[in-house]
């Protein structure tokens, strides 16, 4: 579904991703872990199409097409979703209105019928119910005045409504208590499907107790430096990232 090959990305004149390769097949959940500043969010932003992230080499193929040539909205319509590490507050734009505009724009781009307000509300209520999110959220402006946890929940709620094919979750678990974390995991697990893939960026192996990954990767200094199964996450949890530096030294020697 997703094939990233030797990706090099510059941000503000600095090379952040330095030859990152990753393949994710439909139906899989991949976890990406790594120290702060390694380039995890950069990867998410590049996949979602954020401006200012300059690809200097490499390629990203998504469902057989070159993802990098598509505008962010076209990527969304093609099924790419990024749950932001720091969701932005947008005062004055109502959450429901925004989400309906987004869903209908995606549907229109895919040649599907748009939902009228009744159909949309029905869908939204259903999603709120299963995610145990208060419908008060619908009446507020996008993320405005939301607590950290509410923002993360809103990201998962949007994901549930938009039903993407490839969801990238950027530290959606950070700053969440255990109950909120379970909700996020449940949101993901409900969407798990042979036709869908997830890239879960996280610092804590805790989340992976609830979202069991097929593969775990370590991203450090702009590259995937190690891949493995779940046990790799446990090892990282116990040993931290210090061994990475040692491993690098050993490699250099």
């Amino acid at each position: 579904m997703l094939k990233i090959d030797n990706l090099h990305v510059r941000v503000a004149g600095r090379e952040i991703l330095k030859g990152l390769s990753l393949e994710v097949a439909a139906g899989e959940v991949h976890a990406i872990m790594g120290p702060n500043g390694a380039g995890k969010s950069t990867l998410g932003n590049v996949l979602a199409g954020r401006e200012g992230y300059e690809v200097t080499a490499g390629s990203v193929t998504y469902q057989g097409q070159d993802l990098l040539t598509l505008a962010p909205e076209a990527r969304a319509a093609a099924g790419v979703f990024l749950a932001f590490q720091y969701p932005v507050e947008i005062p004055g734009v109502n959450n429901t209105y925004f989400l309906r505009a987004a869903l209908n724009a995606q549907r229109k781009a895919r040649g599907e019928a748009e939902l009228d307000s009744m159909q949309f509300l029905k869908l939204v209520r259903e999603k709120l119910r299963v995610l145990h999110v208060s419908d008060e959220l619908l009446h507020r402006a996008v993320n405005e005045g939301f607590s950290g946890g509410e923002k993360k929940r809103n990201e998962i709620f949007q994901m549930a409504v938009l039903e993407p094919k490839l969801a990238i979750l950027d530290e959606t678990d950070s700053g969440l208590d255990i109950d909120a974390l379970k909700l996020v995991a449940e949101g993901v697990n409900r969407l798990r499907d042979p036709a869908r893939a997830f890239v879960v960026i996280t610092h804590y192996q805790r989340l992976l107790d609830y979202i069991v990954p097929d593969r775990v990767h370590v991203l450090a200094e702009g590259r995937i430096v190690q891949s493995g199964d779940r046990d790799l996450a446990l090892k990282l949890e116990q040993q931290g990232y210090a061994w990475l530096a040692e491993r690098k030294l050993a490699g250099a020697a």
Binding site: P72, V88, I90, F98, A101, Q106, Q158
Partner: protein, 437 residues
């Protein structure tokens, strides 16, 4: 003397000859004054950012002789809650056939000004009283020489008018360039209350210059709510000036949405004359193409304990230009005044322009005053957030633009009208996602 000035002066001489004696003198003085001053130019500080040179070569016909029979789309007048008294002017001419005054409460006099001019009643005289002598007020002077009609509203002390008074100014294609002039007088007695909804609309292709002057006097404790929806045609030039005087404890709440006209200029001069008077002025100019809108406010605190708040938003896309001037003067003795003025602007294109000049002059004690102006662009992070969810870029821009200015509509208490203005604003923005079926 340019062609425009000559044309208007000739017309003014005719109007003067047909005027009752009490008025002819005022008109002559105004005409001579305009002849001397001509159109305001860059040398007049208040016109620094609005160039009227494009008018100089125009030779509009003054008035539209066929205005009485012009076909206008009455559906365009329909506004929520505006089913009561309505006065409609087409190309500056009162249209009784489109207007309705109905049964008004005792103590309310509403009608076209023309009927009051002949016998020189006080109310008519009051409308022509201001000298507009200051530099830059030449067009208001010209209006005194040429306006033969307008709206006259008197609400007696203590009378509360529930239904909004709907004033409609429609521009219709006259097949030629025209200029029209209207003059309004609005007086609320002590404790009286009224709401005015002022609507400007017109078709593209209607080339015209509308010039409006308005006097508003609010007695002690009177309350006037004012909503202005300006959707004049893009080929129209609209110049309007309002002078207000607020008595003790009087209040004035105004919301303006400026969406139309190719060139428009709005002057509001408000004097908080009595102790504890209160004014709340909000508005947004949302411009695109080559639209140019210049909003100039001057609020004068002349008594202690008065409160004023001005919130203006300017949004300029493509090659449009939004100008704002806001001056607050707290006169000597106007202690304990509270004056807030803010002007926030959004620049949507590298070819658009914003000019803003907030001024604060304080000559009193214990004054709470703040003023500020900002010019910014759309937040890139917000834009990316919306797009990453699938909202196309143009729609995302419109959503953020809408969000930037829609809160000024919160000043409209009547929800259906507020929603209607919100929709008008949304329709004005490119590819703004609708509320749908």
């Amino acid at each position: 003397m340019n062609a425009f000035v000559r044309t208007l002066l000739d017309a003014a001489a005719d109007v003067e000859r047909g005027s009752p004696q009490w008025l002819a003198e005022t008109r002559r003085a105004a005409r001579e004054d305009f002849a001397r001053r001509g159109l305001p130019g860059p040398r007049d500080e208040p016109w620094k950012y609005t160039n009227l040179r494009a008018l100089e070569s125009r030779v509009p016909r003054v008035g539209d002789p066929d205005a009485a029979t012009r076909v206008v789309d009455v559906a365009g007048f329909e506004l929520p809650g505006c089913h009561g008294p309505r006065l409609v002017f087409v190309n500056g001419v009162f249209r009784a056939d489109l207007s309705q005054v109905g049964a008004l409460p005792a103590g309310v006099e509403l009608g076209p000004l023309a009927g009051l001019l002949a016998d020189g009643r006080d109310s008519a005289r009051a409308v022509f009283a201001p000298e507009h002598a200051e530099p830059g007020a030449a067009l208001a002077r010209l209006n005194a020489a040429l306006a033969t009609d307008g709206v006259s509203l008197d609400v007696a002390a203590g009378v509360v008018l529930e239904a909004p008074i709907h004033l409609v100014f429609a521009g219709a294609d006259a097949g030629a360039d025209i200029a029209w002039h209207l003059r309004h007088g609005i007086r609320l007695g002590a404790g009286a209350e009224a709401t005015i909804v002022e609507q400007h609309l017109g078709a593209a292709g209607a080339v015209q210059i509308g010039n409006l002057v308005e006097q508003v006097a609010l007695g002690a404790g009177a309350r006037l709510r004012h909503v202005r929806i300006q959707e004049a045609g893009v080929d129209a030039t609209l110049v309007s000036r309002t002078d207000l005087v607020l008595g003790a404890g009087a209040s004035f709440d105004a919301v303006a949405l400026e969406l139309g006209a190719g060139l428009s200029r709005r002057d509001v001069r408000l004097r908080l004359d009595g102790e504890g008077a209160r004014a709340d002025l909000r508005g947004a100019a949302v411009l695109r193409g080559r639209q140019h809108m210049d909003a100039q406010f001057e609020l004068r605190h002349a008594s202690p304990g008065a409160t004023s708040e001005v919130r203006w938003r300017g949004i300029a896309d493509q090659r449009a230009r939004a100008v704002f001037g806001g001056t607050i003067v707290v006169e000597e003795g106007a202690d304990r005044s509270d004056a807030q003025l803010s002007n926030k602007n959004l620049l949507l294109s590298p070819h658009a322009e914003i000019d803003t000049r907030p001024v604060l002059e304080i000559h009193a004690d214990e004054v709470k005053a703040a003023h500020g102006a900002t010019v910014g662009r759309l937040d890139e992070r917000s834009l990316f957030y919306l797009r990453s969810r699938g909202v196309p870029e143009s729609a995302a821009r419109s959503m953020l633009t809408f969000a930037f200015c829609s809160d000024i509509l919160d000043g409209i208490a009547f929800e259906p009208l507020r929603a209607d203005l919100g929709q008008r604003l949304a329709r004005h923005l490119p590819r703004m996602p609708g509320d749908g079926a």
